[in-house]
Structures are given as C-alpha cells and as structure tokens.
Symmetry: C2
C-alpha cells in the first residue's frame, strides 16, 4: 500500500489518505483480508496526527471497504461478490514446515549476546576478538576521496572478478612469500572475511556424514559451519605444543576424515603455538592419509616473542593445505576481507561456489587494502601493532600475577590475541559470566569452544581490544569475581552437603 501526502494541496490530509486507499482497494491492489497499518505507526510513518488516520479509516468503514476485526485491526473487506473469506486468508505460513534441515541445525548464539554486553561503554571487554580501536591503521584511508572523486578510480566501485582484483591477488603473493609460500595469483582468492573461506570449503568439500577433525578447544563458528553441512566433527585435544599428534593419527587411521581444521599459530582460544615437530608430522600425515588440512592463520603475523615457526602451507607442496588468512585482525574487521591460498583446482571450485554465494567481495575494501599493501603501509603498521599488543599482553600478564587467586592457571602466548585460563576447581565459567558482568567486565567462557559438553573450567581473555589503562582494573575486577565465586562455591557445596546428609 503506497500513500503519498501532498502537503501543498488544499485537500485535507485525511481525505488524501482515504482516497488513495479507496482507489487501491477498488483497483484490487489491496486484497480482501489485507490489514491496514495500525493507526499510530501509520501516522508516525506519514508524519501526520493519529486523528488524521482515524478519520481516513472512518471514511473507509463508512463506505464498507474496510472493517475492524479483533486482533487484526482494520482489514480490507471482501469484494461485492463475497467470493473470498478474508478470515481464511489471514493466515501465516506453517512455520514448522518452512525451514530446511540445515537451518534447523543451528545452535544458539550465546557469544552474540556477550558481544552486545561488551559494546557498552562502562564495561571492560576481554571478550571480543577484535583489534583495538586506537590501533587501527586509519592512514589506510588517506587520499581515497581524492582518488575516487577526482581521478574517478571506478575500479573501486564496480564489479571485480569473483576471485578478486588480479593486482591484489599478486600483492598477496608478495605477502605469502614473506610467509615462506611461493604461489601465483591463480592460487589465491579474495574472501568476504576468512569465515567465508571456512563456509565455502565446507560446502565444496563436505558431504553429509563426512568427518572433520578439529582441535579441542577450537573456533566455534568453524565447528558450526562444518556441522551445518551434515558433517561429523571430532575433536583432538591440545597441549602446550598444539594438537596431540598421536591422537590425530589414531583418528585418521580409524575414521578416515576428509578434513583437518587447525589454527597452528597462536590458536584461538588457547594462544598455543604448534611445535615444529608436530607441524612436520601433520604434513606427513596429510600425505600419508590423503587428507586435506585447512590452516586458519588469522593471528600468525602478530608475533611478540621468539622465532616464528613455518606455516603449514610453506611446508606443503602437494596441495594438501588450504591456507586462510584475514585483514580483520590487523587492519579493520569491518572491511570484511580475507583470502585463501590453495591448489588451483580448489580455488577454481571455491570461485564457482562464491559466484552464486556473493558474486565477489567488496571492491572498495579490496581497493583500499591493495593500496595499503603496495604503498608499504601494511608492513609499517604490523611493526607498530605488534609492539602495542605485546605491551597489552604484558600488562595483562602482570595484572594476572598481581590479582589472581593462587589456583588460577594461565599461559603466556607468544603472539595472537588471547590468554587461556583454567579456573580454580569448582568455579564455573558460565556462572562467572554473570558474576563478572555485575562487576562490568566480560570474557568468553570456555564452553563456547568445545564440540562436546566441556570447557566450563576455562575462560578466554582477549588482551588487544581494551585500552591499556583498563586492563589492570579489568583483571582486578575479574579476579574478585572469581574469588567471590570460589568462596560461595565452598559454602554452597557445604550447604548441599548438609541437605544431603540427613537423607543418607
């Protein structure tokens, strides 16, 4: 129903509205059973008084064109022949028959609510896995307006090939060389964030019933993407050297999975760096068992100490490793830009899928990133951001040393975004979420990173997002919440004991 009010006209507004609706009913544009918008909402959207709408509706009723019905408001009545019963027509789709198996399988989105809480100004957030606002390379945008408006660089605004700008793919080959991979642009595709790479690979590789091996803990949305295809997901536990390779080999032998998903470098959520011997072994196992590896390397360049170990892709030349990386963790997540490096047979399939998924990634984002790589901005930015994040990591580690209860255990990640903490015995991460929220500090509970019902004894702390000055008070409040809960735990356990004892 389209209504236009002519504020210059002498005709009163209610007459204008009445006549337009009348015409639409008589012409059949408005069907019997159509509910007119509620008066208040309609008045707001047209910028008129509510009484104007009431008057227009009154006129329509007087002509027998509309009627009021309980629970449905003002409804267009049947035409003169009375051949259709509006009551019957006013029914919604049968919702429980509408949705696909795929969509019925979605898990709940606990993390989403956490992030809403995290965006409140008075809350200190160790929850989000995003870059620091003040560390963003805002200089990447310098000069873009001139280039767009004066030089009319329309390239940034039109379609790109599905795989992305060829010049950007070549620039990414340059980036990959510094990561030890010698590839050509045909081996590279741009993605709308690396999450898209996980989703497309799931669709292009996995059939229902296929098996995917993941680290446990692992990145939750990846697990969801695998499960959504109908695949089975099996976890391999990690220790301080990464995925336990002996367990992996047993699983490969027994289940013959189709894909191994791993974040070998500064893993999310654990921050663990997979050891060199395990990196060798996992490549050997891929060759032996002919299984693909998806290497998710969102954090690898954020190295704060020690020697950067070779990425898996740099150790593979038979095409088993599908490499994913992103500009979300070092430039801006809002640009939604990541990339994949893989055997060109895989790139070809991924491109065919991407063509019906979103055609191509934002040309504007691609253009901005390409400028930033080729003018040397990214390289300079990485040095700066590593220095800043190392400082933040150290501030958080110091604060933990100072405030943590003696039975809180944490690791010292050599890079990336996260510190992984084991809570004192009896303290539940899920309960700690609300306790900490009361003290205005948020984090992600370990349960979000497991395929099974585990992780309630761990929490993930992000150290990159919060301003330096907030880290110490945030950790202090968090530790108070842990101590509170540990104490209550003891007393409530004692209470339960008292309750149970009499029965036994």
């Amino acid at each position: 129903m389209r209504i236009l009010i002519d504020k210059e006209s002498n005709e009163p507004f209610y007459i204008q509205i009445f006549e337009q609706i009348r015409r639409q009913i008589l012409s059949g544009e408005l069907l019997p059973g159509y509910r007119l918008p509620p008066e208040r909402k309609f008045a707001q959207s047209l910028g008129v008084n509510r009484s104007t709408i009431l008057n227009a509706y009154r006129e329509l009723k007087a002509e027998g064109l509309v009627g009021s019905r309980v629970g449905a408001g003002t409804v267009v009545l049947s035409d003169i022949q009375g051949d259709s019963d509006p009551q019957n027509e006013a029914q919604e789709p049968i919702w429980n028959q509408i949705f696909s198996q795929y969509s019925n399988g979605f898990d709940s989105f606990f993390v989403k609510e956490l992030l809403t809480l995290a965006s409140r100004k008075d809350v200190i957030s160790f929850a989000t896995g995003i870059a620091a606002p003040e560390s963003g390379p805002i200089e990447a945008f310098e000069g873009i307006e001139q280039e767009l408006l004066e030089k009319k660089d329309f390239r940034a605004l039109f379609h790109t090939p599905t795989e992305g700008f060829t010049t950007l793919r070549e620039a990414l080959c340059g980036l990959m060389r510094r990561r030890g991979v010698y590839c050509r642009y045909e081996d590279v595709i741009l993605l709308s964030g690396s999450q898209q790479g996980i989703d497309i690979i799931s669709r292009v590789i996995l059939d229902p019933g296929d098996i995917v091996v993941v680290e446990e803990p692992s990145f939750f949305p990846a697990i969801q993407a695998f499960k959504a295809t109908g695949a089975r997901v099996i976890g391999v536990p990690i220790d301080d050297k990464g995925m336990k390779i002996d367990v992996l080999e047993q699983l490969l032998h027994r289940y013959r999975p189709k894909l191994i998903y791993t974040m070998p470098t500064y893993q999310n959520p654990s921050g663990v760096d997979m050891g060199l011997e395990r990196r060798r072994r996992i490549i050997e196992l891929a060759n032996t068992y002919k299984v693909l590896i998806m290497e998710d390397d969102a954090y690898g360049e954020l190295c704060y100490e020690g020697h950067q170990l070779p990425i898996l892709k740099s150790m593979d030349n038979n095409g088993y490793v599908i490499y994913l990386s992103t500009f979300s963790k070092n430039v801006y997540a809002g640009l939604r830009l990541g990339w994949m490096v893989a055997h060109k047979r895989i790139i070809k399939r991924v491109a065919a899928a991407k063509q019906i998924i979103d055609l191509h990634s934002s040309s504007l984002s691609q253009w901005i990133i390409e400028r930033f790589i080729t003018n040397g901005g990214l390289e300079a930015h990485m040095i700066k951001v590593c220095r800043e994040y190392k400082l933040k990591r150290d501030v958080m580690l110091d604060a933990l040393s100072k405030y943590a209860p003696s039975d809180l255990i944490w690791n010292t990640p050599k890079g990336g975004y996260y510190i992984w903490c084991k809570l004192p015995q009896g303290v539940s991460a899920s309960e700690l979420v609300s306790k900490a929220a009361e003290r205005k500090v948020v984090f992600v509970p370990g349960t979000s990173f497991f395929t099974s019902d585990q992780g309630d004894d761990h929490i993930r702390l992000n150290f990159t997002y919060a301003p330096v000055k907030d880290i110490k008070p945030g950790i202090s409040r968090l530790c108070e919440a842990i101590k509170d809960l540990a104490q209550n735990k003891v007393s409530s356990e004692a209470y339960i004991d008292m309750e149970i004892n009499p029965i036994v």
Copy 2:
C-alpha cells in the same frame, strides 16, 4: 620455506640463501620430498639473478641435502636414516574424491567469459547488467575521508551486528514505506548483495528434493543457487503480463512447491512488468497453497514510463513474501550491498545462517549507503538516473527500429535494464555471440536464462551500461551480424542440401 636476503651483508647472496635452506632442511622445517621453487620464479620473487639461485642449489646438492628429479625439479632428499621415500610422498590429493556433491553440481560459467570480453575497451557491451560508469553517484563519497580520519567514525570500520547497522535498517524501512511496505527494522537484514539473499534463502528453506518454481526465462545464478541445494527447479513460461498464472496454479496444485521465485517488476531478462491482476492472483495463490514467494526487486525503482504497480510485498501481510532488493543497480555494484524484508521469523533464521557465512556485510559499504540515504542523495540520484536510462532505452529502441531486419522482434520495457529480442527464424543466439564479437559487440544469449534447453532464439540487450554515443553504432553492428547469419543460414542450408542430395 622462508628466505630473507640481507642486502647490506658482506655474505654473497647465494651463500645467504644456501645457509637458510640448509638450516631449514636440517631443522626439519623442510620435509623430505619438498620441491624447492623453480630457479627462475624463485630468483624473481627474491629480486636476485637466476645464477644466484643456481649457485645456492648447487651447494645444497654438493652436501647431499637436495637432488634433481625429472618433472619435479629440485627436491629435498630423505634424512640419513632413509626411513621415508620421497617418491611416495610427492603425490597430490586424490582429486576425484575431494569435492562434495554440491560442488560437483555446478554448471559451467559461460556468462563469466562474456563479461571478460565485455570489459575490453574496443568492445561495445550490451551484455553486462551493470550501471553506467558515468551515472554512478560519486557524490556519495564526498566527505567520507574527513569523517573517517578527523571525526574517527570507527563505526564504519568495525563489526556491525549480523543484520546490519540498526540505523541503516531503519533508513531502509523509510525506503520501503515509499514502496508501500510498513515494516520495522526487525523485518530487515542487510546482505552482501541480493545474490546472497537468494543463496541464504535457498539454504534456510530448501531441502534436497524440494521444488522451486521460477519464471522462464529467469535469472541464471538464482536457478543455480536453488539447484545447488538439491532442489528441483520448474519453470513457468511468461508472456507480456509476466508469469502465466494458470500454469502456476496447476503446478502449485500438482507439485506443492516450497518456493516461488519471481521478478515481477521489469524482469531480468525479459523486461516484462507483471500485470496487477496477476500480482493479486499470485498473492492469493501463496495464501491458498501456503507457499513462500521470493520477490527479487532489483529494478523496480527504475521506472521510465507509466504507473508503478505495487510490489508483491506491499500486498502481503501474512508473511508469504520474502522481498529482496539491492544497491547494485542504482548506486555501485562494487559495494556489494543489498537487503531483505521478510517476516521476522525468516529474518532470524537468515541472520543465524549469515553469521556463519560471512558474519556481516561490509561496515564501510553500509555506512556509505546510510549517509547517502539520510542526506537525501539517493532520492535525488534516482530521479537523475531514471532520466538518463530512459534516454538510453529510447536511443536503443530507435536504433533497433532503424537497423533491425524485419523479422527481429523486441519489446519496449517500461523500466529496468533490458530489452528482450526474438531472433529471426533460423538464427541461433549462440552462433550470433561469436559473429557479433567479430564486430566488437557483445550481449547475453537467451540460453543463459532457461532451466531447460531453450532460449537459443532470444538475446538480452542491456541499455544502461554503454555510453549513449555507442548505442546506435553497437545496435547497427549487431543487426549486421544478425543479417549476415540469417543469409549464411539460408546459403549454408542450401549447401547442405547439395551435399546430401547425391547420397539419397
């Protein structure tokens, strides 16, 4: 394999390279069987002479660390124990076992090659479905750099909710009101182009074996997205009033499809505007048969003459219509931004899927579009662009009247992007593609728009992309190609007759 050359060092480059590779082999970073990069490529990527690489490889060979193998270049040899045979390890994945059913079902991408041809400067393109470069609202970018760099509007660069900025969703409700739909922001989700809406709805609604009804001809990538889920796609023919509703009703009755996909307004490829009576009927049928309608409205606001008929979504208040639209056809396709309006139950599922698909659409694109809507730029731009495209349409229609052979038939679309032509009897659209390419003019053959083996007697001409001055010569060349082919047809048929006669 990561190699860094220190150009300041006294050590010769080949020694630096030799020592780094040697260390990586001995430490196990480079596995037995690893192929070193080919000398020429490696030299290029390091910025050294090829002889430098040859010398480094020679030293490695002298130490027994690498060897040459026919077809594989220079390969890292097994370690001393000789416990692994590099020959066995140098194998690629078993490609025919790698890919999913979904990905094996992709059709070929003829259109993609056409678009590559269309991008050549000397070719006049009536093929692409994109906006005119000179008509783009470049003013949408005015002031963005200042807002980003000075006001530091980080909103544009960080994560948004999966559904998009709430303020933009509200601005879209304003846009929808002018299209006759009174919705709230909860009914709206931003998409990375409307193609993403088609893909997500396919995944969220369709199970293998479900049936989707489409217009025939229809938008090819939509058909592909439906088929990729394992759904069956059935076509309903169209005439000058749109989808034949009596055929649709028979299909609804017999097959009980789950989804009807339609472009009622200025359809792609036919340019046809569905009549009001049929719009009424399709809504009634959706209610009667409880079937969802996906209304793809990419072109509806590009109206050049006559009265804009109500969009289906404006006639539906029971939640059967899923409405899709885009900024690709009126702003810039490279921003990859579209939106969906649907019942909030559907929006909720779509958002859950989008969260694992690409998390959210480009924040930067959303921010630019929101500015452009709220500062009134979009509304002004639409008036300008409709005037320009109407002119281009008329120039093309005039040129067709002037140059077309008498048996070429075309329609006069009241809006949108396309003129749909029926070729003279015996002229094949696929053959015309190469004939026209010789004369440096491209278009899309009708075969690209049918689910079955039809359409070779039609072509789609886009009139928005080519500059006005190119339209007349382009149509002239195209018509020459048609006439050529029509004549050759007759003579080559005559020739065949001659060949065949002696045998009979």
